[in-house]
Amino acid sequence: MTTTFDPVQAPPAQSNGKTVITLPSVTVRFAGDSGDGMQLAGTQFTDTSALVGNDISTLPDFPAEIRAPAGTPAGVSGFQVHFSSTDIFTPGDAVDALVAMNPAALKANVKSVKDGGIVIVNEDAFGEKDLKKAGYAVNPVEDGSLKCYRVIKVPINKMTTEAAKDSGLGAKDIDRCKNMFALGLVYWLYGRPMDSTLGFIERKFGKKLPAVAQANALALKAGYHFGETAELFHEQYLVPKAKLAPGKYRKITGNEAIALGMITASKLADKQLVYCSYPITPASDILHELSAHKNFNVVTFQAEDEIAAVGAAIGASFGGALGSTGTSGPGLALKAEAIGLAVMTELPLVVIDVQRGGPSTGLPTKTEQADLFQAMYGRNGECPIPIIAPASPSDCFNAAVEAFTIATKYMTPVILLSDGYLGNGAEPWLIPDVSKLPRITITHPKESNDASGFMPYKRDESHVRPWAIPGTVGLEHRIGGLEKQDGTGNVSYDPANHEHMVRTRQAKVNGIKPAGTDILWTGPKKGQILLVGWGSTFGAIKAATLELQKEGIAVAACHLRYLNPLPARLGEILKAFDHVLVPEMNLGQLRMLLRSKYLVDAKGLNKVRGQPFTITEVVHGAKAVLSGEVEIAVKQDSTSLDVSTGGE
């Protein structure tokens, strides 16, 4: 079903005399126990905000343990959504309104709320036991410790029970509707329509579980009407439509975008996609999404482990399909040997790494960018692989198409470096017109390329070997992990041939031309300071650059979408600025690459807290560099970070 909304912006109720205030942008965070349905509430709020025409950016934040003890800070699940009437690039620095379903959620999140911001607490969940579980000795709602916020106590449990009492559901099931009550209340607070969520409830439960549908709908409406009639709020806030580029939009997460990008690549190449993966957070959603689209003749394979997944993808590529595997950092480590085989056999392969906090199991549900070195160098031998890093959730679509374009054009594995923040985060996406997307041309030889017989390693001018596939009469050949004689592909231990092959494989990757934008640029071409970023830091760096420009600083942002090979003109670009600062969610991996390759004194702004940068953090970092500071630890309420030189 396609519902195209005409955005409803006029608040439905002016009658009760509440003031309506218009704001350019707002950040809301829903927080509760992992069983409280906060992700759903947040997603619904996001969908509605997108449909009414706001720009949006989201940050889901959930615990690693599926069953962390209820009511404890370890089990808190949050969903932050930033919605705006202007272009935005991040899920928002500080929160305007927090919904805290219990004391643990309050404790874990209240520091992110702006002074004077709204804190809605579910007072029914603030009993002595609940407070103790969260580690509060006294009730923070009563002891004045929250006096810099506008705390609004709402008996969410009671009101939900009352609202849904006629639905026929038991008390436990009704209790599970309290997220809808909270959502309804926030809908009212920001003058958003309920239709989209009501439609969602009907689609999800309507037929199968009508009582559940009814209870959820009643709770949602009750929350909305509670805002309207209760004397708790004196104001209602509106955020007008954003002025995005004209066209048709939808909301999309990074993981969805990768899956859709892969299907698109397979259509553009007229090739079967074979996606092989082993479940791993935060990449599993790609497997789920693709598995839901088997009518595109996508083959999905849930392998017995990470190695089997990459092996199967390579096997599929040998057969002439688009083989791909997706994982996160620990899985990429396991796949390393097989990826080396794909480099040696020069077969196309797309490896997706949705990075998470490491090392080892690390922080499975939190974001990080610390796999850049692993992608660059994490294999035995000289084993170069092109690397593409999408800059935003919707950019994951382009990156996936580009990855297949390069993999098949150059007969090489490609690593696509996404991360947890991109994978789970959402933003509006200007839906592309399929008929305007460029085709991916692939040819398989039908006849021998040499009078002496087929030469599987006879290369073209870009050092690319032919992709001959089984079933082709006369082109039977054997490939493998042992060093090959160039041309014939026969096993060769000849030292000169080995050196030639190592250098040829490197030259092939060095000569790769990007299949899309390699640099996203903001600002002037020269100046005081250049911020260089890659991957999901794009939004925070761009927004910080715009802020710094407003203060009169000659600053630009250079965001790299291609990390291997680096854009040819990058050396010149770096030299045009007095300072270079590289904000990264690692300890300085891109910075080290830039320093070693271009001998530039790049400084690092490094954060490894499992959370994306805020705009303020980047602004402060840039200013610290400009004021000549070398080692500064900037402490903030919710985050701390370090500016350090590249020397360590």
Partner: protein, 342 residues
């Protein structure tokens, strides 16, 4: 019964047609030569199309095999051959895929994949050359080496209990499991032909002599003087009889097999081999029989039909297309909820 004559213009294939221009580099006297020869013979006999055949191997002496077959081939990485074979089969169900592996490659580093390619019934023919030793790395003990085996890495004897490849294959739901010996070329050819004709994953363990690092490991089963007492040739529907004079048999006593003399026991009391029975217990029981307590069975332990994995996978795609129609990319990208900015 009349059989249509073969069209006379079909090229008659010879084993040599499957040879590559590469020098075969196994040690002189290695059992691998015989396996290569019998494979080529079977291929020629069945007229198998080289261009539609792919040999995939891992690492080890046996894994050099693909270089010597003039088909498509991948000499992959240690233990992972089943993964490449599975992916290739998913992409190209029509291809005839053979996997060559060894006791270390399949049962040690690749143990996990070995189990899964069998249980999924991927429709790959698997030849496991069991020489009970690591040959390529020069003589360490393997997962099939007997307990107490003295090698360079186990100067005081291997403390490990060995595994039995056919037992593992059957436990992993193999639809076809068989065993042969490199030296008995006629029987090896028969078993390979049976494997080639099986629809689904076929697992064949081949006792293979490594004359450099583990010479004589299967002498008991190949020596003319002893082999009729130490081996038992399985035949579907026939009682389990062995011995130089066919005077011994296997009888079931409670849940266990026992060796009996046909001079004392009636042949009707012997176990009858049934490779087609859906229940794998008999095949498993046979796979447990070990020299010197029992003769070791050779031949086909189990040959049943299971739907092939790739068919099940493809059927789901067909069903999805039948239900939702062939994918419309623009619709997919557009999704369910959109808004328009003027």
């Amino acid at each position: 019964m009349s059989v249509a004559p073969l069209p006379s213009n079909l090229p008659v294939l010879k084993p040599g047609d499957y040879a590559t221009n590469q020098d075969v580099r196994w040690c002189p006297g290695c059992g691998d030569y015989s396996i290569l020869m019998q494979t080529k013979k079977v291929f020629a006999k069945l007229g198998i199309d080289r261009s539609k055949t792919v040999f995939i191997s891992g690492i080890g002496c046996s894994s050099r095999f693909p270089y010597y077959m003039n088909t498509y081939g991948i000499h992959s990485i240690h233990g992972r051959a089943p993964t490449f074979a599975t992916g290739l089969k998913l992409a190209r169900p029509e291809l005839n895929i053979w996997m060559v592996t060894g006791d270390g490659d399949a049962l040690s580093i690749g143990g996990n994949h070995f189990m899964h390619i069998i249980r999924r019934n991927v429709d790959v023919k698997i030849l496991l050359f069991n020489n009970k030793i690591y040959g390529l790395t020069k003589g360490q003990y393997s997962p099939t080496s007997e307990q107490g085996k003295k090698t360079k890495s186990t100067p005081m004897g291997a403390p490990d209990y060995p595994v039995r490849p056919v037992s593992i294959a059957i436990a992993a739901e193999a639809s076809f499991a068989a065993r042969a010996i490199d030296m008995d070329v006629k029987h090896l050819e028969y078993v390979l032909e049976r494997a080639a004709k099986h629809v689904g994953t076929a697992f064949v363990e081949i006792y293979q002599n490594c004359n450099i690092f583990n010479d004589g490991a299967f002498e008991y089963a190949t020596d003319k003087a002893t082999k009729s007492d130490t081996t038992l040739y399985l035949e579907h529907g026939k009682p389990l009889v062995f011995g130089k004079e066919n005077d011994k048999g296997i009888r079931l006593h409670a849940m266990n097999p026992e060796v009996v003399s046909l001079r004392e026991v009636n042949q009707d009391d012997l176990l009858i081999h049934d490779e087609k029975t859906p229940e794998p217990s008999l095949a498993f029981l046979l796979s447990r029989m070990r020299y010197p307590d029992f003769p070791e069975p050779l031949g086909v332990f189990r040959d049943v039909e299971h739907e092939r994995y790739v068919n099940l996978v493809r059927k789901q795609n067909e069903e999805a297309i039948a239900q939702k129609g062939p994918g419309d990319l623009q619709k997919l990208l557009t999704g369910n909820e959109t808004w328009t900015v003027e």
